[in-house]
């Protein structure tokens, strides 16, 4: 038997199925939300999170014991898990909610993730959570911070570079902040949220897509986790921003000046 690494990392990557960013968003006629009958894919920040976990394993080799992805969503969210598994995650958890259920809010999601992490403790536990800094559908950008708060863990948000020392159980994270970047050293366990510059996610190769089909996906419900996804917020109305009014052509400089004056501009 070969000697096992002193410390083994278990990474959890929460991912969300969201309307694809290339889709033109339309408000539904009832003005209660956006048209969801469009192409969905993995939230781009979460894709970066999965990529980072896979790269950590490529760098740290056997020191990364497991990469588990988790999603909370309707049955179709399982496709998102398959994509993450094809990118290199080992196993997945699908917390399934009904197709018609309202989307869970950040606090509910953070509570569910905490429940999953506590459940995992019975096994190998979780040392590192890597997740998107926000989802591009609701743009809340709160879940990572709430999860760290609920668990009492450290947090390194908006990461543009992550280095983990598995043996020392520490991480050095470069954060995107106003006007530059900030390097922080953290102790594991830790919640990292990813920013755009962290990496460029890979394509899922065919052999890996085939392998992903055989990887285990565990299904759970909110009740089994003891959490409640009932929204605490009420959406009153969703409307499109006013359409941009096109410009006009003028025939002469005088006309231009007149129009500018009309619009309230004057020479200084």
């Amino acid at each position: 038997m070969r000697p096992s690494a002193v410390r083994l990392l278990n990474i959890l990557v929460p991912v969300k199925r969201a309307v694809d960013y290339a889709v033109k968003i339309r408000v539904n006629p009832q003005q209660t939300g956006v048209d969801l009958n469009v192409k969905h894919s993995m939230n781009p920040f979460d894709e970066i999170a999965v990529e980072e976990a896979v790269r950590l394993r490529e760098r740290l080799k056997d020191a990364v014991k497991s990469i588990k992805v988790v999603t909370i969503g309707p049955p179709k969210a399982s496709e998102t898990l398959r994509t993450a598994l094809a990118m290199g995650a080992d196993s997945a958890i699908h917390v399934e909610i009904p197709e018609s259920a309202p989307a869970p809010e950040p606090l509910g999601v953070a509570q569910a993730l905490r429940a999953i992490i506590q459940r995992e403790k019975e096994g190998a536990g979780v040392d590192l959570v890597i997740m998107g800094k926000q989802a591009i559908d609701d743009d809340a950008g709160q879940t990572g911070q709430m999860l760290a708060g609920l668990l009492g863990w450290g947090q390194a948000t908006f990461a543009s570079k992550v280095e983990v020392d598995a043996a020392a159980k520490t991480a050095v994270v470069m954060r995107e902040i106003d006007g530059g970047s900030e390097e922080i050293r953290c102790r594991l366990p830790l919640v990292v949220t990813t920013d755009l510059r962290l990496n460029e996610p890979r394509y899922a190769s065919l052999p890996n897509i085939m392998k992903a089909k055989k990887k285990p996906v565990e299904k759970l419900t909110a009740a089994e986790l003891g959490v409640d996804f009932t929204p605490r917020l009420e959406t009153l109305k969703v409307t499109e921003p006013p359409t941009r009014v096109g410009g006009g052509k003028v025939e002469s400089v005088d006309e231009l000046v007149a129009k500018l004056k009309e619009a309230g501009f004057s020479a200084v």
Binding site: K39, A204, S205, L206
Partner: protein, 495 residues
């Protein structure tokens, strides 16, 4: 003999250049901003006309003094009638994205740009029939019909600049031909200004119309030598509800044929593109940042690549078919493919396509390109590319000093290979080494020397490699019948 002599004289007839008096007349037809001329009194600097006198590759250069930009078919007719009466030769010009110099003046012909004729005349969302001015940009038509759940039956790399009129005039093929057929099928009607100024209105929108000779077919692919197309009636298919694509890496070229058969059999009606990219073309596209590549280890040992696209009505159905195909390919005892990538979202879908569509651009960034667009049997794609490379090597022209790359890519489904030779500069020596060599190779396969790019100014002398004497004679008779004065795009298609 006398007839031949006369014909010969006719082709050498002296043409008139655009004079100040002509400009005066054009001012009665067009508003001032639609006339660009270096002739006095407007006397623009000739640089203003550069974009009309040069092709985008920098290979062809005209000396036109005047560009007219009419907005209606009547204006086009008035212009042509005047030119016919004054022996002024005309070059009709669309988006100027052609590859064979068909839209560039050979000398100082009058350029008639259709760019201002850019309105959609009608669209019937039930039948999918679109009637549009010739100067509509292909991409804008795609955007126009998209909300009605239709797509244009053609798609090509130049879609952001090329005009539908130019597409029809050159019988452009492109990426969707495998699925939707050629423009000879999807164009239902045309409005054409004939070389005497007559407006030939055949702008019908009938699927079926067997009433005599189908004249519009003559203008499809005539490259503006028989008249100026001013409007197009075209059948647009319903847009697929789901599209997927995959790039496959193949260890040998020999696997392309069996792979194509397997893909056709398993995907059947949802197969919408099957594109071939050889290793050299792939490397160039990646080098010049055209889309993202497979990982290095995936690319290792691949001799060529194939891009397969599916378009269908139901995503689950299509994905299941595609995945069945891919698993059977991967699990086979003697796999036809090394590996591949399957796009997971629209962004990846686009970037896989960008890799294929960006080859043209990558090639022009790499150097000066000699482009041959040939139809040959699929099995001979690699042989022809290799033979061309070896031929250049034997002439001592392969290397940093002359030809740097010989590459092939194209539409497997249509038997259409794009053979590109990238050189440091355009030289007569390379030209002589390539021609007639390439044309003779093509002729030996009974292939076509121009599958979809047309003849233009580049290949008139080589037409006989693909068309026999009788065919060319009758083409000349048709040209003379429509254009007895020879003013319409002279020197193109026919010598």
């Amino acid at each position: 003999m006398l007839r031949l002599l006369r014909q010969g004289l006719r082709w050498r007839r002296p043409y008139s250049s655009v004079a100040a008096s002509d400009i005066e007349h054009f001012k009665t037809i067009l508003p001032p901003h639609a006339i660009l001329s270096t002739v006095s009194p407007s006397s623009l600097p000739s640089s203003e006309l550069d974009q009309y006198n040069n092709d985008w590759m920098g290979k062809y250069r005209g000396r036109a003094t005047t560009v007219l930009k009419p907005k209606t078919a009547q204006q086009v007719s008035d212009i042509v009638r005047w030119c016919a009466g004054h022996d002024i030769p005309i070059v009709p010009q669309g988006g100027n994205t052609g590859l064979v110099g068909g839209s560039i003046p050979l000398q100082d012909e009058l350029v008639v740009s259709l760019a201002n004729m850019n309105s959609v005349r009608s669209f019937d969302p039930v039948s999918g029939i679109l009637v549009a001015d010739a100067g509509c940009i292909l991409q804008s038509l795609t955007d126009y019909v998209a909300p009605h759940n239709h797509i244009m039956p053609i798609d090509l790399g130049a879609k952001g600049s090329c005009h539908i009129g130019g597409n029809v005039a050159t019988n452009a093929g492109g990426l969707r031909l495998l699925r939707y057929g050629s423009l000879h099928g999807s164009v239902l009607g045309l409005e054409v200004v004939l070389p005497d100024g007559t407006i030939l209105d055949q702008l019908t929108s009938l699927r079926k119309d067997n009433t005599g000779y189908d004249l519009k077919q003559l203008f499809i692919g005539a490259e503006g030598t028989l008249g100026i197309i001013t409007a197009v009636s075209i059948l647009t298919p319903p847009s697929p509800q789901a599209s997927n694509n995959v790039i496959l890496a193949l260890p040998h070229f020999d696997n392309v044929q069996p792979l194509y058969r397997a893909v056709k059999r398993q995907l059947s009606e949802i197969l919408s593109a099957f594109e071939f990219i050889d290793r050299t073309a792939y490397n160039l596209a990646v080098k010049h940042g055209q889309g993202r590549a497979l990982s290095d280890e995936d690319v290792e040992g691949a001799e060529c690549f194939v891009l397969v696209e599916t378009s269908g009505g139901r995503r689950e159905h299509d994905e299941e078919k595609l995945e069945d195909l891919l698993s059977s390919l991967m699990d086979s005892d003697e796999p036809l493919i090394n590996t591949g990538v399957l796009s997971q979202n629209p962004a990846q879908f686009s970037s896989l396509w960008a890799l294929r569509e960006g080859i043209t651009e990558a090639v022009s960034k790499e150097g000066k390109a000699y482009k041959y667009d040939i139809s040959i049997p699929l099995a001979s794609f690699k042989t022809v590319v290799d033979a061309t490379r070896e031929h250049l090597r034997s002439k001592g022209l392969l290397g940093e000093h002359a030809v740097t790359h010989v590459l092939g890519y194209g539409h497997v489904g249509d038997g259409n290979l794009h053979l590109n030779i990238v050189a440091a500069a355009y030289t007569q020596e390379i030209q002589d080494a390539l021609e007639p060599f390439v044309y003779e190779v093509v002729a030996s396969y009974r292939g076509s020397i121009s599958a979809e790019h047309g003849i233009g100014a580049m290949k008139t002398h080589a037409l006989h490699y693909s068309k026999n004497d009788a065919s060319i004679e009758w083409m000349k008779k048709i040209k003379t019948l429509f254009d007895p004065k020879g003013i319409m795009n002279p020197g193109k298609v026919l010598e």
